[in-house]
Each structure stands twice: as structure tokens, then as C-alpha cells.
Symmetry: D2
């Protein structure tokens, strides 16, 4: 396994100079854009990594998975999906159009920005801090790391450049999707996006999801298996923004990408896979990450289709 991980790194490294880091969140561009790490964790709990797989980066949109799990645990399936749909969109991740034109005015799914904000409104907590504590609790559990924290500078950078997300949130509040204080809600969302993770941690999170919510190391049930299936099926149809279909075809596993450069992959009943490399393609996905995922998919026959 280690050999193939190493080969995947070697193969995908050819694309290392291509693409560009996300620049709409200024703090993000301070990261070394040549970082590239791959990590897989099997259901025995063994982890194989290569490259910068222990380097910290901000989780960004991968946090949408953690937010969804937290919301499902706090408010239940029916309540969460009264505020958000479960369908792919074909639009950009930050699109606002369907909040005006949709049959329902709910966002289409929990993995686009509008949907993740609506999901955040379903998390328990009397105020912004307490809600975020809930998210952090889930993150600590699922990342198997008691020391999970967020990057204050990235958080502040997201907050100061987050007008598009404010537009989404106010649009939803005007339609009655939720009635929360928008700035407090977005603080939870922006802090969640700024959570620091490593490729190794994300691969372990993938392994828990691949193992129906049971931690491979401890055998403890960490997430309700039904919630795992909810999360994995949504990742499969809309986890990579408007490149989800191509990813299904070329790689074929439930996955979620983030503009921080990370990708979380789940191979049900087999393993968790994670990549990290900050340079992105036009759709916001890590270029080396995608190439590594393709290599691993072929080498291990990971596609579930």
C-alpha cells in the first residue's frame, strides 16, 4: 500500500506547478503552494502517507461534512432537510440564483455554501461560541484528535471578505429558511472553515465514514450509520462542486473538496483517502489531489460504480 501511495505522489507531482491558490481569502494564499501530501487509512486503522501529509491546512469546504453530521445529531434528519434539499445543482458553489427561482427557496443541498449555512442554523447552542463548540466537538471526535483548533487569521480573513456568504444568508432569512442572527451564524461557519487539519487526520475521518461510523482503531461507534450514508451519498452526487459528475466517472468514490487544497475521499467498507495540495483548478478543486485520486482509484480499483 505504501508503495502505491508513493507512486501516486510521484505521478501527480507532475502537475505540481499548475493552477493557482484560492485568492479571495487573502490569508489562504500565504500557504506554501508547493505542499503536496497523500494519506490513506484502512479499516484496520493503519495509515500510509507520503509527502506533506502532516502539514496543517484549513479544512474549508470539507467542514460542510462535519457541519452536516453535527446538525443531524442535534436536530435530526427531518428538521435538517426541511431547511435544505438533497439534490445536485450544476451551479457554482456560491450561487444565489436558486434561492430566488427555485420551486422551494431552500438551498439545493448541504454541500454548497448556501446549504452549509442553512445546515449550520440547525446546530445546537445558545450563541455563536456554543454552536462552534459543538462543531469543534464533532471535529475532535471524527478527526480523532483532541487538539483540533482553528486558524484565527484565516477566520478573520474569511469574515472580512465574506460578503457573498452574507448575501446568501440574508436571502435565506428573508425567505424564512431560518431566523438566526446572520453575523453570529456566519461566525460559526467561517470558524468551521478555518479549522486546522492534516491530510493524515482527514484520511482517518474518511476511514470512520468508510467503516459505517465505527472508529477502526477503537471499534467505537462515533457516527450513526444512517447519517454516514446521508453524508456519503451526498458527497457522491455533489461533493466536488460542479465537477462532481466528472469525479464520479474518473475516480468513483464519495468525496468532498475544499479550497484550502484538501480532498476527503471515502471508499465504503475499504478505506479513507485524503490528499492535500493548495493549487486549484478553475472549479476550485486541488489539481494534484485530483490526479492522485485518479491514480489511487485505478491502482486499487476503488470506484464503486
Amino acid at each position: 500500500m505504501q508503495k502505491i501511495v508513493t507512486e501516486a505522489h510521484e505521478y501527480a507531482s507532475r502537475w505540481l506547478g499548475q493552477g493557482a491558490q484560492a485568492n479571495y481569502i487573502p490569508e489562504l494564499s500565504k500557504l506554501n503552494s508547493d505542499y503536496f501530501g497523500i494519506c490513506i487509512t484502512n479499516l484496520a486503522g493503519t495509515t500510509y502517507g507520503y509527502g506533506n501529509f502532516n502539514e496543517k491546512y484549513t479544512i474549508q469546504s470539507i467542514c460542510k461534512v462535519i457541519l452536516l453530521i453535527t446538525a443531524l445529531q442535534d436536530s435530526g434528519f427531518d428538521h435538517v432537510f426541511s431547511r435544505v434539499g438533497m439534490e445536485p445543482t450544476g451551479d457554482k458553489f456560491n450561487s444565489i440564483i436558486r434561492l430566488e427561482t427555485g420551486n422551494s427557496l431552500r438551498p439545493l443541498n448541504p454541500l454548497i455554501n448556501a446549504g452549509a449555512i442553512a445546515v449550520t442554523s440547525c446546530i445546537n447552542g445558545a450563541n455563536s461560541e456554543k454552536k462552534f463548540m459543538r462543531v469543534l466537538d464533532t471535529a475532535k471526535t471524527i478527526l480523532n484528535n483532541a487538539n483540533v483548533s482553528y486558524d484565527e487569521n484565516v477566520f478573520l480573513s474569511e469574515k472580512s471578505t465574506g460578503d457573498r456568504n452574507r448575501a446568501l444568508a440574508y436571502m435565506m432569512r428573508s425567505s424564512g429558511v431560518f431566523f438566526d442572527n446572520v453575523e453570529e451564524l456566519l461566525d460559526v461557519y467561517f470558524k468551521s472553515c478555518s479549522i486546522l487539519v492534516t491530510c493524515a487526520q482527514i484520511s482517518r475521518m474518511g476511514a470512520i465514514l468508510a467503516n459505517n461510523g465505527i472508529c477502526p482503531q477503537t471499534g467505537k461507534l462515533l457516527i450513526d450509520p444512517f447519517f454516514v450514508r446521508v453524508v456519503c451519498s451526498l458527497m457522491a452526487v455533489c461533493g466536488l462542486y460542479d465537477a462532481s459528475g466528472e469525479f464520479a466517472l474518473r475516480v468513483g468514490i464519495p468525496a468532498k473538496s475544499g479550497v484550502g487544497g484538501g480532498i476527503l475521499g471515502v471508499v465504503p467498507n475499504r478505506m479513507g483517502v485524503a490528499t492535500f495540495s493548495p493549487r486549484l483548478d478553475a472549479k476550485g478543486n486541488s489539481i494534484c489531489g485530483l490526479k492522485a485520486m485518479e491514480f489511487l482509484s485505478q491502482a486499487f480499483s476503488l470506484s464503486i460504480y
Copy 2:
């Protein structure tokens, strides 16, 4: 297996009176709307059916899978996907909007109407008849039935009410997606939609796809395994129109529905599943079919996520 198929039929029959047959194609509404059949075919080639699983109905949108396989065989992956994308849409199956507003003016995927028409333009044949012969050849092979034919009345009914598809086709020709004669191209498409199938045949087709293109009965390779993966991954992300995400969550297998009342399901490496019942929900999917698929998914743990 037979027992569970029977139970699934019993369970889903409770919804038998709900919904309505498609009425925009007048001929379709002549079908007995109380028909309900279920059929599964395992990889040993054994078929288990219950109810009206040998009743003939028109394949409708399930033909998009056959059209795509034929086009891939005739023109290759690169050519086909230069004319159509591979992303879900979030729109109705007959939507025209993205042909005007999309970044690319190609339709978003081969399983919506516009995409299937673009795919049809990639099928070999000097004229309409010869192109349709190619489709029928694929259908005969993949349905394991040398006598496959189409329903002339349904074809004429589709042709006479097919203005929306004409609009889609002329819109694409005006953008240079293809340059075929539109009426001839649509004749191929409408005839393909009118192909007569049974639930049993569709479940066998599902088994071939589940078996990486190899016929379970004969062991012969009928479809290139890569094309099988293309088809299955696309069915998984956009096979049930704008209910694909919910189907992924509740059933969790690649599938394709048609307004004739059929659903084709593929459980990779395990079995083909088919249901048939003409009454549809608001999104155009067979109500009893969906309920039966849910039951079977739970009973057999079919979900791939």
C-alpha cells in the same frame, strides 16, 4: 430472493393508486396504470420476478443509457463528451436554459433530454433508419432479446408532441453542438424512446452492467467495462432527473427512470434490479417503483455508499 421480491411488491403496492401516468404523450396513457412488476437478475444469470414483470412497456428515458453506450461505441469517449458534459443539473429533464446561459453551450449530461439528443448525433449511420438500426442492435444485445422492436403508435405520438425536444435540438444546432438534420435526428430519438421492453429484460440489462459488461448467462463481454463505468457513474449522479440526490440517499445505486414507468437499477458486482409501474410522482419517477427500490435496498443492503 424470490421471497423478498414478493415482499417488496406487497409493500410497494400500497402506493398503487397514487400519482398519475405521463399524459404529454397521449399514447402512453393507454397503458393499464395498475400494472406493477419487479424483477432482479443476479450475476449467475438467475431472474426473480413478481407481478407484471413480463408486461411490455415503452422504455422512454431508460433508452438514454442505450443511446450513450451506442454513441460511445461508435464515436468514442472523447468525441461524445465534446458534445455533452458529465455533470448533474438541478433542472427539469427538458430544461433549455443552460443551452443559453451555460459556460459551455453543450448540454450538461447525457441523461437529460438535450444531452441524449446530442449523444444521438454521435451514433453512426448514413440516415435516420440506419442510425436507429444501430440503437436497436445495441438494445437487442444488451436486453438479450433478438426480437426487440418499438411501438409505432407511441413513436408517432412522441413525434407529434415533441416540440420541446425540437426546441432543444435547434438550440443546440444553432450553437454548433451538432449539424444533423433535426427531424431525422429526433426520429432516432423518438423511436428509441418507443422501444418495447419488459421488466425482466431490463433487470437482465442491469445485471450485464453490474457484471462489468459481461453477460452473466453466456460469459461474453458485451460492453467495454470502461463504458459501463461511464454509464453507471452518470446514472448515480443524475439518473433520476432532479430526484437523483434523494434516490442516492434512500436507495443508493446507479439507476435510470423513464416516464413509461420503468426504472433500471444496477448494483455493481451484485445484480440488476428493475421495476415497472406507470403512475409517476411530480418529478416523473414511478411511485411504486421508488418504494420497491427502497425496500429492496434495505432488505439486501444494496446501497453502495
Copy 3:
């Protein structure tokens, strides 16, 4: 003239019970919905009114004309129209779609909500209070009334229900249309919408616009004639939301309506016309007001087309 105004009132009163007051701003619905006033002011400065033409109501969207005049005076034509277009939209007055899909991300014109907010960002003033003072100054001048004030309760009601406008504002700030503090900017906008006016005052404002910016009573030039033409031509093409075309055809004069129930009409080189009646049709225009305008247009041959 008085006779025809009286007849117009009588004629249009037949529709008095139809339609409904705006209810999305709770305070607005406290107004007596049976009020109905008509007033015209000719270029000699004489005013003819009938019904509740001296009753106070909130100006609502008619303030967009005052905001535009103020912004043109403060920032000039080029700057204002670098932030907003000059084209009709065909969309609802509060639509957000084109801020995402437009070729330019500027709002299409100054008379829809997004456009009026962008225009407000072009008004001078170090803070919210000072900017609003500028608006109030213009209003006092153009309404020929030193005591113009706003309704604090309506303002607070608009502010507390103004999430759709917040969405529009943050969407524009995220695209760089302006960089103002959104809450402060909206305070100016909401206060401007809450300015109290009477039908008589609005008809005098119409007369000034009809008179190329010169006050009929005093002979003083109050508005640059070029700005008058900008305002009148825009009112002609998009002053009545998505009913502007029908109003051009049936009435044929530049006009601006507000959900407070008022309509401002300008007959270039002839007179100002104003109506007030709170019950609105589905597009947000005063039903009796429209009927009165039609009557007056025919009686006086007002149409400029």
C-alpha cells in the same frame, strides 16, 4: 381641470375595494386602505386635487427618484452610472439574479431596489445621518416643503424586515459595486423610503420635473435639466416595475410608483400628476392610481407617444 380631476376620482373609485396593501412591511398596513387622492399641478403652479390628496403617506419607491437626483448632484452622471445601468429588466423589483448572471454585475437600473441601493452609495456624507440629510435636503427642495420628515415606525419596520435588501447590498459589495458599510447604507435607504409626503406635494414635484427642473411658482432652477431628463427617461422605461411597458401603452407618461400607494407622473412641458391609494395589484402598483392615471391620460391626451 378641477372637473376632470373630480371625474377621474369618481371613475377610479369603482376599483376602491380591490387589491391589497403591501404587508411585508407591517407598519404600512396600518394606513387606512380606503384613502384615495388625486392631484395635478400645472406649469403655472396651480394645483387641483380631489379626495385624500393632503393625507400623509410614506413615499417608498418614489424616493428612488429623489435618491437618483441627489446622487447625480453629488457624484455626477459618470460616477453614478459606473455603479448602475440604465436598462429595464423584466424582473421583479427586488430580484437578485442579474447580480450573479449579468454581463456586468451592476444592477440594471436605478429604479429597482438593487439599483437604488447602489445609487445611495453615491450620495455624499461622512456617515449615515449626513447622507440622509442630503436626501432630506433634496426632498425639501423638490417637494417644496421645509418640513419634510420621515416616519420612524415605518423606518424601523423596514429595517427589521429588510433582509432581501441586505442580500442585494452584500451581493453588490462582494462584486465591488461599492464598499460602504451595508447597515449604514441601508439606514439611508430605509429612511428615504419612509419619508412622509402628500399627493399634493408629489404633484408639485412632478410639475418641477415637467418644467425641466424649474419651480413653476418661483421660477427658480432647482434641478439640472439634464438630470431631469435622465430621471424622466428612466421613469418612462422602468418606473412601474415589471408593468412599465403596459403603463407606457395605457397612460404614456414617465412615472414612478411606490408600495405606499403613491404614483408620481410627469407630463413633460405640461404638468405633474399624482395619485395615492394604498391597495396594490400583484405587481405592487396602486390599483385606483392606475385607473385614475388612465382616465386623466385620455381626458387630457397626456400620452407622449
Copy 4:
């Protein structure tokens, strides 16, 4: 008057090399792109021209005015406006989106392509030839020229490249806006677009419209004054595609442009104005024509606002 027409020509000639001829209809690009003519006709019936004002060109979209007048005469106001709206759009002239998303599925107004096609379906005539004879009759009357004909090559060129218009027509027929044979209907439309006119003729047509339908030369009533007002008010709000607002502001008269390079202007109760120059701006309007219109508007104070 002649002097100012000459000056307008001189002034606007500075922009003579800018822009490009329409190229989507191949035949159109055969025209000498340096042609530039201006013509005005006052209500005494006197015509003042300069440059290539007697050069023939194809009327293109200006025919929408003639189609609308013919349809109003044949089917009446209510019937015509049951098939088409009267509102500006903010979209491109050939947009199809609102035929799917609009509240009503009728096209928004008679001066965009979809609307003009719907209007054509309201013209009397048992077949394509007879319908077109009706159009030609109106054209002969309103252009004051018994020899009006159309350019067969341009017609064939439009027909062979008219797929976008076919898409619009089939889309409307699928929604029940009309039920005509699409190819026959489009033949009428394409032939109407190919009618040959001169600047002088179009200015005389403008004078008739400016004179409430009465021919200045003969004193005969040629068009119902109510239909004249319908046409002029619609030209005012949406006659120049998505540049109608800017034209209202800068020129301020009802007008209609065509991609053949012509512009028809109507100054109610004063004169008809016409320009012709084939090079167009990005929105499809003649560049020299617009400049000449602006010059004449200022020189003669033509703006009605």
C-alpha cells in the same frame, strides 16, 4: 433642416470605421459597410436626406413594427396581446430563457425575436405566401411604395441559419402560444426581415407614425391611431434591444433598430427620422446611426422626456 441633417452626417461619420456588420446571416455581410445615410420627413411630408439615404438595405428587425401593425389589424389588440406581453426584458433579442421560466410562457414583448414570431402567428392568411402578402401590403402602404419587395438571397440565408428562431418557435408551440406550422411561420418572418427599404422610405414611415397614422402627403388615415400608440410606446420602452434605456436617455424618441443597419425613429407630432449604416455595436445597433440620432435629438430638441 437640411443643414442640420448634413451636419449630423458629418458628425457621426467620425465613427464610420467602428463596429462590425452582422455576420450570422452571411448574405448581410455582402453589403458595403461604409454606407451611411440619414433622412427626416416632417409632417408636411417634406423629406431631407444626406448620404446613402436612397440605398436599399434589408429591414431586418424594423419589420417587427410592420408585423405588429399587420397583426393588430388582422386579429385585434386583445388577441395579439394574449400571445405576447408588453414589457421590456433586459435580455438579448434572441433569448429563450423566459419562455421556460416566465410566469406566463408568452414572450415578453413583440419587439424581441420570440415576440415577433408570436405576433406573426396572428396575421391572416391560409398559408405562408398569403400571410406574407398581408405583411407586404402593410409595408407598401406604410412605406408609401407600391414596389416593395424582399431580397431572396437574404431570405434564404436567414432561413438556412435560422435555428435559433426555430428553437424559439418550437418552444412557444410546445407551450401552446400558437399552433402554426413552424417552418411556414418562419418563412413569413424571414421574408419580412428581408424586405428591402431605403432610409428615405423608413423616414416617411416614421412620419406617418408621428402623425398618428395619417399620411402627411395625402392626409389619408393609414393606421388606426390606437395601434400607432401601441407601436410607439413599445418602441420607446424596448425598441433598441437591451440598449433601449440608454437610447431613451440619450435620444429620447420611440425607435426601432435592425441588424441590417437601419434605425427608425418617430418624434410624435413632429417628424420621422431614419438612419442607415451597416456597422453595429455589441448590442446590434448601428453605431453611426446612434451617433446621428443623438446629434439630431440635441439639434432639434427631439427628446419627449
